[in-house]
């Protein structure tokens, strides 16, 4: 079984996410009226295989597996999948899996590209505990932001159906829009707290000579992202921004994160020496 690497386990996990995505399409076409566990167990299978893949890689490296873009992306997806499984246990939140599966599948397929996973040198970059903490908190924050975006998508769908008097709003087994918005807000707050902690720990890390912290593209990008989330949270909590604009912002911010995460990582001298 030596030929069966951690990437194979991850490939199987992505297949489970893909099956869940296909099933999610059926659920969507049926108006989220079948409150069954099929989707949930597909994600459970995916996350289990995903965990095996990460454990195998982590044991090989003797550290948290976040040394390249493949590992960072799989860690982000794992945090997203796990959070989805936990939140799906809330009443009427089982369909969260149906909304999360497409994100897990598409980003999972992206992560499987061989160029994202170059061979490691003899000394992994993230051997220091502070570095592991930095990477883990940042990636868990991305996971929370991702799940917030998924809950926000559920909110916008329900909001649209209620606004335009679609019967699907009543027939679907989705939570109330007030509850969806609250979950979105809480996840964004959790993500923001983890992100802030990750940035603070990152600032404490030793840097290679001649590589200034505040000129690094990833640091600038992270600071920008931090400000974007701060603005959205302050506007929602203290300035009475509408639920629709807040949830739309949460989705757009996560899409921006997904689209630019790889690029900034690639050009970052601190993260991609």
């Amino acid at each position: 079984m030596a030929w069966f690497t951690d990437r194979h386990f991850f490939l199987l996990a992505v297949i489970c996410y893909g099956l869940s995505t296909i099933y999610a399409v059926f659920l969507w076409r049926k108006g989220f009226r079948r409150d069954d566990w099929v989707n949930y167990f597909l994600i459970v299978a995916g996350v289990a295989l995903h965990t095996l893949a990460m454990t195998k890689r982590g044991l090989t490296l003797h550290s948290c597996p976040v040394n390249n873009l493949y590992e960072a992306t799989t860690f982000l997806l794992w945090a997203l999948g796990l959070a989805c499984l936990i939140y799906s246990l809330l009443p009427r939140f089982k369909f969260l899996c149906a909304f999360t599966a497409p994100v897990l599948f598409t980003v999972g397929v992206f992560a499987l590209m061989p160029s994202l996973d170059p061979p490691h040198g003899p000394k992994p970059d993230f051997s220091n505990w502070l570095r592991s903490l930095h990477a883990a908190t940042i990636l868990q924050a991305y996971g929370a932001f991702g799940l917030a975006a998924v809950a926000a998508a559920m909110f916008l769908m329900q909001h649209h159906d209620l606004k335009f008097h679609k019967l699907r709003a009543l027939l679907s087994f989705l939570p109330s829009i007030q509850r969806l918005e609250l979950i979105t807000l809480r996840l964004a707050l959790v993500g923001f707290a983890l992100f802030s902690l990750g940035l603070v720990t990152g600032q404490q890390l030793p840097r290679p000579e001649g590589k200034p912290y505040f000129c690094d593209p990833k640091v600038i990008w992270s600071a920008l992202l931090w400000l974007v989330y701060l603005e959205m949270l302050v506007a929602r909590l203290f300035l009475g921004r509408s639920n629709r604009r807040f949830t739309l912002g949460i989705i757009l911010a996560f899409v921006f994160l997904l689209l630019t995460f790889g690029i900034t990582n690639f050009y970052s001298g601190l993260h991609h020496p």
Partner: protein, 348 residues
């Protein structure tokens, strides 16, 4: 061997004038059942008498055709009816009688398909007969199975899903917007009957309280007292929008009482909390343009009726599925020892 037969009339076969003529008062039912037994028409019997149907369920050793003649004579004599009866009265023998009993229990034969009230009424009718020992093995098994099948259909199909009235549709909408109605107050604009019923439906589902306003302050005060809420002068109802989250409007005003220009600043004062507006008035009290505002969900009487109608058509679609399930359950019951198939049923 006894077989189960039914004779009756319902909203499908007879007008209300005839149904009320044949209705049994519940205190008269034991005596009527005793007569059925004493005359040898039925060994076991139960009588269901509601506003929509009067039916006698009997287990008899008579051949179905003979039983129907006797049961018809019994019904006519009991109510001293001297008019003519044609298709108003229907008769059913096995297996159709059992199929009908199962359908009645599941609400499939009701005026509003899938309604649950009939289940309780049928249970009461059976318990009355059972308590007075007018039922035996045959009817007990048939009724118990009918109740089980009704429960099965309720959980396994969508036959009872959804709101089929304007009031219940409004409540369901509120529950799709707000997590719990216990934290939300309802404003009733115009103390009419429809808005009162809607407010009552919302209160019954746990709404925190109700505020009533009406052009006639006396009527507002009276309704507020009845609903356990408070009344506010008609000129001051816009101020209440800061507190309340659901507004039900049904006035006789000829123009819009609430338009976008009025609501926009109020929504800012509400810090954009969701607001459900239910406009039951014709002509409408609320300008449809307010639905374009963020966090405002406006439904008028046509929208709610549309929801109720769609639910009703969904129930009708589901009824076909229920019929198939019932056919299977009846066949299983007939295949059981005490319900071996008899001669072909005679439906009249």
């Amino acid at each position: 061997m006894n077989s189960v037969v039914i004779i009756g009339l319902s909203h499908r076969s007879a007008p209300v004038a005839l149904r009320e003529r044949f209705a049994f008062a519940s205190d008269k039912i034991p005596a009527a059942l005793q007569t059925l037994r004493d005359t040898g028409i039925a060994a076991e019997a139960a009588i269901l008498s509601t506003c929509n149907r009067v039916e006698i369920y009997a287990a008899t050793t008579l051949a179905p055709d003979a039983a129907f003649v006797e049961l018809k004579k019994f019904l006519v004599a009991q109510h001293a009816f001297d008019g003519a009866l044609d298709d108003e009265l229907y008769t059913l023998a096995e297996p159709h009688s059992l199929h009908h009993l199962f359908k009645v229990a599941a609400g499939l034969d009701s005026m509003v398909i899938g309604e649950t009230e009939i289940f309780g009424q049928l249970k009461d009718a059976y318990e009355l007969a059972f308590t007075h020992q007018f039922t035996g093995a045959r009817l007990n098994k048939a009724f118990q199975r009918a109740f089980n099948v009704a429960k099965h259909l309720r959980t396994e199909t969508n036959i009872q899903r959804g709101s089929v009235s304007v009031m219940s549709a409004a409540v369901e909408l509120a529950e799709k917007i707000f997590t719990s109605l216990a934290e939300h107050e309802v404003l009733v604009i115009g103390a009419g009957e429809t808005s009162e019923k809607t407010a009552r439906a919302l209160l019954s589902r746990g709404a925190r309280g109700v505020v009533v306003t009406n052009r006639s302050p006396e009527r507002a005060t009276a309704l507020a007292a009845e609903l356990g809420g408070r009344a506010v002068p008609f000129a001051q109802w816009p101020d209440e929008f800061v507190q309340i989250d659901i507004a039900v409007s049904s006035t006789a005003a000829r123009h819009h009482l609430l338009d976008r220009a009025t609501l926009e600043p109020l929504m800012r004062r509400r810090r954009n909390r969701p607001l459900l507006l239910i406009d039951l008035a014709v002509p409408r009290d609320i300008d449809p343009a307010v639905n374009a505002l963020d966090n405002v969900y406006l439904y008028n009487v046509d929208d709610l009726q549309g929801i109720a109608n769609e639910y009703l058509s969904l129930r009708k679609e589901e009824a076909a599925r229920c019929e198939t399930i019932i056919a299977g359950k009846v066949a299983a019951l007939l295949a059981a020892n005490r319900f071996a198939p008899k001669s072909p049923a005679a439906d009249v």
